[in-house]
Symmetry: C3
Subunit: 380 residues, 3 copies
């Protein structure tokens, strides 16, 4: 379909659709409220199962004030625990990743746990009246896996993971994401609130202005958003004629994923699996971006490029075009998100009107307000 | 007049004149209260008209959480706007200064404004029910100009600028400040509350101790303060015999400003135009210092040296002696202001008694207390 | 006594002995509450008398928001003052140490005090009605000295220093600490709450895990704690057979302190003189560590190694083994304290049970709670 062919077919947005008040982007207390209401209760993507290849493999992830160890136990299953000893609270794993020798031992007083968090030994505690090792396991954090993506949930009683996915697993089954392997990771420190990054991700109106190369490969109005789900926002865009995928030249010698139908070989999918995974599916590779809110005005974004193992094995495999295309596009987006943060933080900011092509942002804002248990905020 | 000739003719100060309690210099909330009560409501000096030479020339200034664009419009007039797009709040101008191509376009979604802030274009907003471009101009900030000094005011209904000047324009007309041109700018980051810098500026009792060269050229008791106005504090000092102006050697090959009378050719004027301009007028040049409070204990000072265009054009023009004299004196003053900040922040600080030569400081303190709507603070 | 000979003879600890809730280690307001209740009211060790060798010698110390000058006056006595001028609050001494020329003069307006804090001169104040120099002495801070250790107290009415020592002076008289001289100072910035450093210091259960060399020279169960006093916690450990003192090789060519009895020549004493002096007495040298809490999660530790003047004078005097032994051990301890800080700051921390070998820590926690006027904190 040529650019000319795109028509603006979405319905008009209600005149009441305005951006959120500044506090949502500038108030440290509001930020902590969001962590409590959202990040400490939701399923968070923390990486890929391939990062935990063997028994004892672990990585550490932090959100807000929480530090968690995610590991593969003796049964080959994923487990996750709060990263604090039950004795005097000492951080157990201080490296970001590594391999544990079948047990987790505190470096302070040698309290020792097995890979399921059970306390095996607590030196000199035998003289403490009533002390029972069974009362001091590591505090467990829920885990789940979806086609290679690993999730954790800090809540006591999280909603079932399948319910959280809300059908995304069936929708994206043909991409066989579990067969993909990471080739590159780039970590960005963005001086913007995490919600601005999701908002930037959820519309392409800015593409002709900010991403001329992107717009050359996929017309910015070709997007077709799915009605927002309870835990995700997303849609798809069409590749222009002659464009094979999103790389620096729009070309690739990689085969499309084998199970994709003809339509999906001409599309790029962009889904925000709330609150922290941005999932970009191309005909021949997957880009994941995991958002780690660090402060009300600062977010770490971990971007990874994943390709099919069969392609990686080919002698002429070259991921550079895909990596550099998105690295460039990311940097353009971070700059815009930082300008938005700066402007919204200024005394001159007033909530402004969304256009009908920003309906996902409005849906996201309402989701945020709902998660926080707020009433719809009045315009400032 | 020789040093011997100076006599201490000022009246005794009341015994009730004590420095302010520590909170005024150490409490971040008090600082924000001052911004609200003073800086967001007063006329602030932001620079010189010569910095905006052509249509579209602009600079950006920030006070507290406010970022403003000051520009010259198509009619050659000054305008100022809050630096945030009316769509999603994005910062419009990210460089500190530059030239706009006849319009202001947001780099995010291309909302476009003319140089008077009128919204000219808002892509894709036509489908939003009830949207009218006329409802979303840039938020305007008041501007004024006085002999080349540019001022802005963030208040909805500021006091008239003429009333703010309170006769200073008539008083300093002979200096013809609009004919002066900037030759040097030096920016200082001072670890002290903005009020300490104004207080340091408003008395010369410290001059024999801290500024021996200054005191050699102008006796520290030669000052004659004007009764404090509603928006300024100031006075003048006499140059000693044989001293032509304040430079490293007290000499200069520059002509005095042509319209000055014989008395003013032998004087240096020091005026604090509250809350942020320190104006030093010498017989042959002007020193301006603009104070930008950045935190309760941190102030940026932008010092500029301005000379008559006719002098700058002369082949033997040499501003170095004037620049280095004040750069040295400034650094001595910043060190003292930083020591005052440190001591006042310490647990051992108690408000102390002003002498009768510090009457401008006492007047300034009362002005601060009044602006904040406080009662006269009790001694701690 | 061989390692085998050590027996665990301490009584079982009550099952109610749990570590403190996280707030005690993470809340900035709690930290300021501790400064108010403890550091601003207790006797604080600030260094050694030898650092003030002559009339006018001074050093500056800071705790929380307080900056103090400690000096030797004309009578050879110690004095201490708040480091702020009584005129406009300016910091008087800006260097950390130095020698004053018989008087303290403010660098701002030359207010001048003698070494006993009396205001000698206040220029231009004579015209201020009712001003009397006698009303503006420097604010005095109490001082005391114990065998060369210098203490100050910021309270209006401190408890008598002898009462604070609670017999420690008699106990440690044989070490003749006043005859020792400092040979080395190392300053550490530790990212941990000050209480974690005292807790780490007050048990040796972690020694076999964290300090293998230490444990090789003194068995970790050889410690014998004294019942905690009202202002100190401490005990002693035995050197293993063949070990002369704590150095890199457990040997030394230094003579033991002459007045020590045979038992104390085979022991190392570790006392926390609350709240800020850690005193380690070896048969042949003294290690002091002064804790300066800088933030709820940050402490500066000033470690000094002191030897007998007679030994220092010997041509083969070599302090290196003692210095490097403790520098290594210190760094191991700081790392553990920082891991404890990180884990306790994490969402997964729960107060955990103390063993019966951690009774000093439990006593310290109760002392803290008592000083703050709190009830025994409930387990979170």
């Amino acid at each position: 379909m040529s650019a000319k062919g795109h028509r603006d077919t979405r319905p008009a947005l209600l005149a009441e659709a305005f951006t959120l008040p500044a506090l949502y982007y500038t108030d440290p207390e509001r930020f902590h409220g969001e962590l409590e209401a959202i990040h400490y209760r939701s399923w968070l993507c923390v990486g890929r199962g391939e990062e935990l290849p063997a028994e004892g493999s672990y990585f550490v992830r932090a959100i807000g004030e929480a530090s968690m160890i995610v590991l593969r136990n003796g049964d080959g299953q994923l487990s996750a625990f709060h990263n604090a000893c039950r004795h005097r609270g000492t951080l157990l794993c201080k490296e970001e990743q590594g391999c544990l020798p079948g047990r987790i031992q505190c470096s302070y007083h040698a309290w020792t746990y097995d890979l399921d968090g059970k306390l095996l030994g607590a030196p000199h505690m035998d003289k403490v009246e009533g002390f029972r090792e069974a009362d001091y396991p590591l505090l467990r954090v829920r885990t789940a896996e979806w086609d290679g993506h690993v999730f954790i949930n800090l809540a006591e009683k999280p909603i079932p993971f399948q319910e959280h996915l809300a059908g995304l697993d069936r929708k994206f089954r043909p991409w066989r994401m579990e067969e993909l392997r990471r080739v590159e990771r780039r970590i960005y420190e963005v001086k913007a609130n995490w919600k601005l990054i999701i908002q930037n991700y959820s519309e392409c109106l800015h593409c002709p202005v900010a991403h001329p190369l992107f717009n050359k490969f996929s017309h910015y109005l070709s997007g077709d958003n799915e009605p927002p789900g309870s835990s995700y926002l997303g849609g798809r865009m069409d590749l222009r004629d002659g464009v094979k995928t999103l790389t620096l030249d729009g070309q690739s010698n990689r085969r499309c994923f084998a199970s994709l139908d003809a339509d999906d070989r001409r599309r790029v999918y962009y889904y925000a699996v709330l609150p922290n995974l941005l999932l970009n599916l191309h005909p021949d590779y997957m880009l994941t971006s995991i958002l780690w809110p660090r402060a009300v005005n600062r977010t770490q974004v971990v971007c990874e490029w994943h390709f099919h193992a069969g392609e990686i094995a080919r002698p002429d495999f070259d991921p550079k075009g895909a990596i550099e295309f998105w690295d460039m596009t990311n940097r353009q987006d971070w700059e815009l998100s930082e300008l938005a943060q700066a402007g919204i933080s200024s005394r001159g900011y007033r909530p402004g009107p969304y256009s009908h092509r920003e309906e996902l942002l409005h849906a996201f804002d309402r989701w945020i307000v709902q998660q926080l248990g707020h009433q719809e905020p009045a315009r400032e």
